[in-house]
C-alpha cells in the first residue's frame, strides 16, 4: 500500500488542512469536553432530583409509618409510576423490615430487610438514594429509591448525535472557509509553478505571471517575471548565436569540401606531368634532375593524402553515429589486420587484454583503434623490443580503455596540441603522417560522448586513454 505522507500533498491541500484541521480538532475536543461536562452535571442533577423525591416521599409517608398504614405507603410509592426512570422504591420501617415497596413494570423484586441500616444493592448501575425518614428527631424508617439510566443514555445519545451533526457541519464550514482563504496563497503559487513547468517543458520564455498583492508574493512573482525576461533575452541571443554558428559551420564545411576537392585537380596534373617528364626525358636528365622530379612526385602524393584525410575528417561531422552492442576484442582484431605488415616489420610484441562489450558505432571505433594502434606501432618501431599493450581499467563501473607503447613518447607540455588537425610533434621525415589521425580519433570519441587524453614523457613511451559513453 502506498503511504500518503503529508509532505506529498499539494500546497493547496496543505493550506486547506492547515486552516481546517486545528479548528476541527478543537471542535471535536470541545464537543467531547462539553458532552462529558453536561453528562456529569446531568447525572449529578439526577441524583439531586432523586434525593428530593426521596425526601418528599419520606415526608409524605410519615403518617403512614406512624399509623402503620402499609396500604397508604404503597399508594404513595405507586405515585412514582409517573416517573419512568424510577425502577424501584422501598420504605423500610423503624426495625428495617420492608414496609412498602414499588418496582417498575413486571420486574418483581424481593427486598431483604435492612441490616445495619445499609442501603440495598441497586439492581443495575443506576442512580440510587437511601435516606432516613425522621420526624421530630424520631427515626421512622428509611426510604430507598433506585433510578434507571435510560434517561442518561438517551441524553448521551442525543448529545452524541447533535455533537456529530455540529462537528460535521462546522468542519464543513471550516473546510469551506479554509478552502476559500487558502486560494489567496495557493493560486499565485500554482500560477508560478504552472508557469515554471510550462517554461521547463516547452522552453516558452514568453510566459509571464500576473503580479499578486501581498509583500512576499509580489516580490516572488516580480522576481520570477524578471528572471523569465532575462532568460528570454539570453535565449534569443543564444539562438541567434547558434544560428550564426551553424551557418558559419556549414559554410566552413562546404568550403573545406570544395577546397579539398578542387585542390586535387592541380595536384593530379602536377603528379601526372612529373610522371610524363620522368618517363619521356629520363635519358636527358641528370641524376639531380631526376631526384627533383621524384621529390615533386612524393610531395604531390603527400598532399593528396593530406586532402584525403581532411575529407575524411570533415565527413565525420555529417556522418550519423549508429550505436550497437560491440565485441571490442573482434573490433581490435579487425583494426590490426591492415597493420600486419608494419607489425611484422617492427617485430612489435602485442599484448591485448580481453575487453568488455561496449555500445558504439562499429566502423568508427575500428578506426579509433586502427589510428591509435597505428601510432603506437609507428612511434615504437625504433625501440629494439617494441611492446604494445591494450586493456582497460574500471573507474566507477565505467571502463577506461588504454593503448600503451614503449616508443619515443612526447613532451607533456605539447599534450594539448596532440589532437589538433595537422598538428605534429615529430618531423615528417622522422615519422611519416599527416597529423589528422588523432584529430579524427578525438572527433569520434567526442561524438560518442567520451573523452580522450594521453600521458607520456620523451623516450618513455606513451599511453592513450579514452572512454566511450
Amino acid at each position: 500500500m502506498k503511504r500518503v505522507s503529508l509532505k506529498d500533498l499539494s500546497i493547496r491541500s496543505k493550506l486547506i488542512l492547515l486552516g481546517a484541521a486545528p479548528s476541527i480538532v478543537v471542535l471535536v475536543l470541545a464537543a467531547f469536553v462539553f458532552a462529558f461536562y453536561d453528562l456529569a452535571a446531568f447525572r449529578r442533577a439526577m441524583g439531586d432530583e432523586l434525593r428530593a423525591l426521596a425526601h418528599f416521599i419520606g415526608y409524605s409517608s410519615q403518617p403512614a409509618l406512624r399509623f402503620e398504614d402499609q396500604e397508604r405507603a404503597v399508594e404513595i410509592l405507586r405515585g412514582l409510576s409517573g416517573n419512568r426512570d424510577i425502577v424501584a422504591a422501598v420504605i423500610f420501617d423503624r426495625q428495617g423490615a420492608v414496609f412498602a415497596s414499588y418496582a417498575k413494570g413486571r420486574a418483581i423484586r424481593q427486598f431483604a430487610p435492612l441490616s445495619n441500616a445499609a442501603a440495598p444493592a441497586p439492581a443495575s448501575r443506576g442512580v440510587s438514594v437511601f435516606e432516613p425518614i425522621v420526624q421530630n428527631r424520631a427515626h421512622l424508617g428509611h426510604i430507598y429509591i433506585e433510578s434507571g439510566m435510560e434517561r442518561f443514555w438517551r441524553r448521551a445519545l442525543i448529545l452524541l448525535a447533535s455533537a456529530s451533526v455540529a462537528v460535521l457541519a462546522f468542519s464543513l464550514l471550516s473546510f469551506l472557509l479554509s478552502q476559500r482563504f487558502q486560494h489567496h496563497i495557493s493560486t499565485p503559487l500554482r500560477q508560478l509553478s504552472g508557469a515554471a513547468s510550462s517554461v521547463a517543458q516547452n522552453a516558452d520564455y514568453t510566459v509571464r505571471v500576473e503580479e499578486q498583492p501581498g509583500p512576499e508574493l509580489s516580490v516572488l512573482t516580480r522576481a520570477f517575471n524578471q528572471m523569465l525576461s532575462k532568460i528570454e533575452q539570453q535565449d534569443s541571443t543564444l539562438r541567434q548565436r547558434a544560428a550564426e554558428l551553424e551557418a558559419v559551420n556549414k559554410e566552413l564545411e562546404a568550403f573545406t569540401y570544395t577546397v579539398s576537392h578542387d585542390l586535387r585537380s592541380p595536384l593530379r596534373a602536377m603528379a601526372g606531368y612529373a610522371q610524363i617528364l620522368k618517363r619521356s626525358a629520363a635519358d636527358r636528365l641528370t641524376a639531380d634532375d631526376l631526384d627533383c622530379v621524384q621529390r615533386i612526385q612524393n610531395n604531390a602524393r603527400r598532399m593528396s593524402e593530406l586532402i584525403d584525410d581532411l575529407l575524411a575528417f570533415s565527413r565525420l561531422d555529417t556522418q550519423p553515429i549508429e550505436k550497437a552492442p560491440l565485441n571490442l576484442n573482434e573490433i581490435i582484431q579487425r583494426a590490426l589486420q591492415p597493420l600486419e605488415p608494419l607489425i611484422a616489420n617492427s617485430r612489435a610484441q602485442l599484448l591485448i587484454h580481453p575487453l568488455p562489450p561496449a555500445s558504439a558505432d562499429a566502423a568508427l571505433i575500428e578506426q579509433v583503434f586502427a589510428n591509435v594502434l597505428g601510432n603506437a606501432i609507428k612511434y615504437s618501431r625504433k625501440h629494439p623490443n617494441p611492446r604494445i599493450e591494450v586493456g582497460y581499467m574500471d573507474r566507477d563501473g565505467k571502463p577506461i580503455y588504454f593503448v600503451r607503447d614503449n616508443g619515443v613518447g612526447f613532451d607533456m607540455q605539447y599534450a594539448d596540441k596532440l589532437f589538433g588537425v595537422f598538428q605534429r610533434l615529430h618531423r615528417a621525415d622522422e615519422f611519416e603522417g599527416t597529423g589528422v589521425g588523432l584529430a579524427i580519433v578525438q572527433r569520434i570519441i567526442v561524438r560518442h560522448g567520451g573523452k580522450i587524453w594521453a600521458e607520456s614523457s620523451p623516450d618513455k613511451g606513451a599511453t592513450f586513454f579514452f572512454t566511450l559513453n
Binding site: P63, D69, E71, R72, V98, R151, I158
Partner: protein, 194 residues
C-alpha cells in the same frame, strides 16, 4: 446552552409524557404481615400521640413557650399506665407531654387532645358543647362520633386499626391537620342534627 436547555426540557417533557402513557397499571406492592405484638390499646395510645404530631395547634392554645402538651382522658381509662410509660420521653414540637385523667361525668379539663371514653357516649353532645370553639382535638373509639362533630375515631379493620376523621370539625376547632393524615383516613362530615 439555551438550545441544550430546551433540549433537556423537551427530553423531560417527552419522558413525562411517556411515563404517563406507559406507566404500569399495577405497580408491585407488598406489605409485611409481621407487626408489633402490642395490645390494641397500646397501639391506640401511640396513635393518640401521632395525632398530636400531624396536627398544628394555634399558639394561643398554650400558656407559654415551655408549657406542656396536655392529653386528657375523659371517663373510664382504657389505656392505663402503659400510655404514661410510652409517652414520658416523647415531645410534641418540643413540648413535654402531660396526661390528665377526668372521671366519668366530670367536666372536660384544660387540654389539647381529648380522648373521650365510651363511658361518656351518652353525654357526648354535652361535652362537644362545653369545648365548642376551643382548640381541642377530640378522639374516641365508638360510633357515632365523627358524624356528630367528633375529630377522629379509631376503627377496627380486621387486625388493623384504621382512622375515621372529620376534617370540618377539626378545622372548626381552629386546628390544622396534615393533609397526608387525612389521605389515610375515612372522611366523615358532621351530619346536621335532627
Amino acid at each position: 446552552m439555551a438550545v441544550l436547555r430546551s433540549i433537556r426540557l423537551f427530553a423531560l417533557l417527552v419522558a413525562a409524557l411517556a411515563g404517563l402513557l406507559f406507566a404500569p397499571p399495577h405497580a408491585q406492592e407488598s406489605s409485611s404481615a409481621g407487626r408489633l405484638k402490642a395490645t390494641e390499646w397500646q397501639i391506640k395510645g401511640a396513635y393518640l400521640y401521632n395525632f398530636a404530631l400531624f396536627t398544628r395547634w394555634p399558639a394561643a392554645a398554650f400558656k407559654g413557650k415551655d408549657s406542656p402538651f396536655v392529653i386528657a382522658i375523659l371517663g373510664d381509662d382504657p389505656f392505663g399506665a402503659p400510655l404514661d410509660d410510652s409517652l414520658v420521653k416523647e415531645q410534641v414540637n418540643g413540648r413535654p407531654i402531660r396526661i390528665v385523667r377526668a372521671p366519668t361525668g366530670a367536666a372536660v379539663p384544660e387540654c389539647h387532645l381529648l380522648f373521650i371514653s365510651v363511658s361518656e357516649k351518652r353525654r357526648l353532645q354535652e361535652i362537644f358543647d362545653s369545648i365548642s370553639g376551643k382548640p381541642i382535638f377530640t378522639v374516641a373509639d365508638f360510633e357515632p362520633f365523627c358524624q356528630v362533630g367528633g375529630g377522629a375515631r379509631f376503627r377496627k379493620d380486621g387486625r388493623n386499626i384504621r382512622l375515621v376523621m372529620n376534617p370540618g370539625a377539626i378545622r372548626a376547632a381552629g386546628l390544622r391537620v396534615d393533609a397526608e393524615l387525612l389521605q389515610m383516613a375515612t372522611l366523615k362530615e358532621t351530619e346536621p342534627r335532627k
